[in-house]
């Protein structure tokens, strides 16, 4: 009457009558159809009915129970699956996992823990953690467990000795397994983490740091780091001790290094640091520090602002520059002293020169009076004597006059020279053509029929002193027409060209001035190379006075005048082929 359908569900089948069947095949309480019977039969039927009723109820409860059982079984299977699932979590966790009691007897152990301890599958059971501890650590283990029992949690580091003999540093994190209604924990969970790699890395890092530290300490400069907020030092290299005499530990004290800075420099240093920090810039500071033995040391500090983990800090390298500063100081003093000396000497020289110039000027002037007297009386004498004088006497008088004339010439030339040497120079733009014109006019010797002077125009303007320019050019021109072979007609050519900047210009690195070179070329006797240097000196003459008149100052005056205007003079000449004199003067600006 009861049968199982395809899915294994028990379906209660009614003994008679039709009934609807659902998927779940739930048993339904049968519904009785009333039937008509006799008294005995109805008694039997009643009994049967009751019996049937009971049977149905029984079937129903059995099937209900069976269903429950099935449900429970199904759930049980589900739970078992879950358990297996979690079991896998436990077993295959990447960290060593153990469950054990207080004394260390292990009840559960996962694969990682087993491998850590050097156990294979068989020897997994019945192990105790105590077996794996090195003797020295047993006590620590007991303390660890005591802590865990009390605080329900403990973490410690141990060295365990695995079955294979290896010693492994581990971190054990233990927690007490809490069971409701249970007595104080009997079970503990412990995670074992192999920290050997971590330890090795830590050791390597420490070693590297030590090496780094040693390296920094060898630097001959104070390497330091400070906190940006408090300005307190949090690291300083060993050189700080070697240089300044304060031990490394002292430097990190609050406010220590600020106190070592020389009083006068403190404010400046503080201000500069604050400013740099505000702008997140680096800076260079030079300041003094007082050493442990009360000396002053000058430091040159290169400071940068750094940011680490959002924290602002200062990093610097300070170098001892005391020697250098001392030398700078000495150099400056020597320089000042030298300058002072130069000023004094120059003043002395100037005085001397002024004296000499005044002397020569006065002298030349005062000499002209007696010269005038000699000349005058000689002339009067000649006039008076006239017919009564012997020819010889007349000749003597003439010689007196010539001598006096020559003396006068010399004095005048010396006067000229000293004037050119000492007169204050007024520089301005001087057009050359008018100057040359007036010179040619002034000296008949420069005009036909005596000589031919050809001026190649245009001539530029020069930057100079008017009187000096005139003096130089007139001396050059009168020379040019003077030193010609007898009988030859002097022919002089004057022209100008641009000149290269001089070496001194290049040295001074100013914008190179523009220069003008004026040439005065003659068809005279020429000058040998040896004489070309001499002729510019005072009173130096190549030819004696009876051959070519002159005092030997003319060219010296030219040179002095041109030099005072900042220019140069020179000559190119071959004996017998004339000479080319040149003077170089600045061009006016603009």
């Amino acid at each position: 009457m009861n049968h199982q359908n395809a899915t294994g569900n028990v379906i209660a089948k009614r003994p008679s009558g039709r009934r609807p069947q659902g998927e779940s095949g739930k048993a339904r309480r049968p519904r009785r159809k009333p039937k008509v019977l006799n008294a005995e039969g109805s008694q039997e039927l009643e009994l049967l009915g009751a019996y049937q009723r009971q049977m149905c109820e029984l079937e129903w409860s059995v099937s209900a129970s069976r269903q429950k059982a099935q449900k429970l079984t199904a759930q049980l299977l589900e739970w078992q699956e879950e358990q297996a699932h979690f079991r896998d979590h436990f077993e295959y966790a990447p960290l060593g996992y153990l469950v054990h009691d207080r004394s260390g007897d292990v009840s559960e152990i996962n694969r990682a823990a087993a491998s850590l301890l050097g156990l294979n599958q068989e020897s997994r059971s019945r192990v105790s953690l105590a077996q794996f501890l090195i003797p020295a650590e047993v006590r620590s283990w007991l303390q660890h467990m005591a802590r865990c029992a009390a605080k329900l949690y403990a973490s410690s580091e141990f060295t365990i000795c695995s079955r294979s003999g290896r010693q492994i540093p581990v971190q054990a994190i233990s927690s007490a397994i809490q069971r409701p209604f249970a007595r104080p924990s009997l079970s503990f969970r412990t995670v074992l983490i192999d920290v050997s790699q971590r330890r090795a890395a830590e050791a390597a890092l420490s070693e590297t740091q030590k090496e780094y530290q040693r390296l920094i300490d060898t630097v001959e400069g104070i390497v330091w780091q400070a906190d940006a907020r408090t300005l307190d030092i949090n690291f300083v290299s060993g050189y700080a001790d070697r240089l300044l005499g304060y031990r490394r530990e002292e430097w990190t004290r609050s406010g220590f290094w600020q106190g070592r800075i020389y009083v006068e420099d403190r404010e400046r240093v503080a201000n500069e640091l604050v400013r740099a920090l505000a702008k997140r810039e680096g800076l260079t500071l030079e300041y003094r520090v007082v050493t442990a033995d009360r000396r002053i040391v000058w430091l040159h500090d290169n400071v940068t602002t750094i940011e680490r983990n959002g924290q602002l800090g200062l990093l610097g390298v300070a170098v001892d520059i005391t020697e250098r500063r001392k030398m700078e100081q000495e150099l400056r003093q020597a320089h000042d002293l030298l300058e002072q000396r130069v000023i004094e000497r120059t003043a002395q020289l100037r005085e001397k020169v002024a004296e000499l110039e005044a002397f020569s000027y006065t002298l030349s002037h005062d000499m002209r009076s007696p010269i005038r007297a000699v000349q005058g009386y000689a002339e009067l004498l000649e006039r008076m004597g006239g017919e009564t004088l012997e020819p010889e006497g007349v000749d003597f008088i003439h010689r007196i006059m010539r001598a006096a004339e020559r003396l006068d010439l010399l004095v005048r030339d010396v006067l000229n020279y000293s004037r050119v040497a000492s007169a204050p120079v007024e520089l301005k733009s001087i057009p050359l053509e008018p100057v040359l014109d007036s010179i040619v006019h002034e000296y008949p010797a420069l005009s036909p029929p005596n000589a031919e002077v050809e001026v190649q125009q245009p001539l530029p303007a020069v930057y100079g002193h008017e009187a000096f320019v005139g003096q130089a050019l007139s001396n050059l021109l009168t020379n040019a027409v003077k030193f010609v072979p007898r009988g030859k007609r002097p022919h002089v050519r004057v022209w100008s060209e641009s000149a290269r900047p001089t070496d001194t210009d290049l040295l001074r690195k100013n914008e190179p001035s523009r220069w003008v070179r004026i040439w005065v070329e003659d068809n005279g006797v020429g000058i040998s190379a040896r004489d070309q240097q001499r002729i510019f000196r005072i009173f130096e003459r190549v030819y004696p006075a009876n051959k070519y008149e002159g005092t030997g100052i003319g060219l010296a005056i030219v040179q002095k005048a041109v030099e005072r205007m900042g220019g140069r003079v020179g000559v190119q000449s071959v004996p017998g082929q004339g000479s080319k004199f040149w003077i170089e003067l600045r061009q006016p600006a603009g």
Binding site: R368, R372, Q375, G376, Y377, E379, E405, D408
Partner: protein, 150 residues
């Protein structure tokens, strides 16, 4: 003094130069009398009509003064300054005749009111030419300022 005078006052300390001036004046036929003083103090006394020059008949006011600059005691330029400071002498013709051709001296002389600046020539002939020119220009061609002033 009512009549314009033609005396020439020479202020010169060098006796040779004085001699030369006198001789050349003679040679060129300068008829005007030549008065000579040897230093600045005397020049001022002459022009002021003081001391031994009090007699203005004997020492009449000159038509022209030839002034050397290199004088003892009082420099020629100071004499010039003094002359121009006197109202009655302000228009007096003063010609500097000196050996210095120093531009500074020349400028100062003109600034102080000199009428001309001459440099003593070196040769006697040139001196003669100068004297002639001096006389021709200043005493003949030039119209001198009137002496009659209240």
């Amino acid at each position: 003094m009512t009549l314009p005078n033609t005396t020439i006052l020479l202020v010169e300390d060098d006796e040779n130069d004085v001699l030369f001036m006198k001789t050349t004046f003679q040679e060129v036929g300068v008829k005007e009398p030549l008065a000579v003083v040897g230093n600045g103090k005397e020049a001022m006394a002459y022009l002021g009509g003081t001391g031994r020059f009090a007699d203005c008949k004997k020492h009449p006011r000159p038509a022209m003064v030839l002034l050397d600059l290199k004088l003892p005691h009082v420099m020629g330029l100071d004499v010039l300054k003094w002359i121009r400071s006197r109202p009655e002498l302000r228009s007096l013709i003063v010609i500097v005749l000196t050996s210095s051709a120093n531009p500074a001296d020349i400028n100062t002389a003109y600034e102080l009111g000199a009428n001309a600046y001459l440099v003593k020539p070196t040769s006697y002939d040139q001196l003669r030419v100068l004297t002639q020119a001096l006389r021709d220009f200043w005493l003949i061609h030039n119209h001198a300022p009137g002496a009659a002033e209240a």
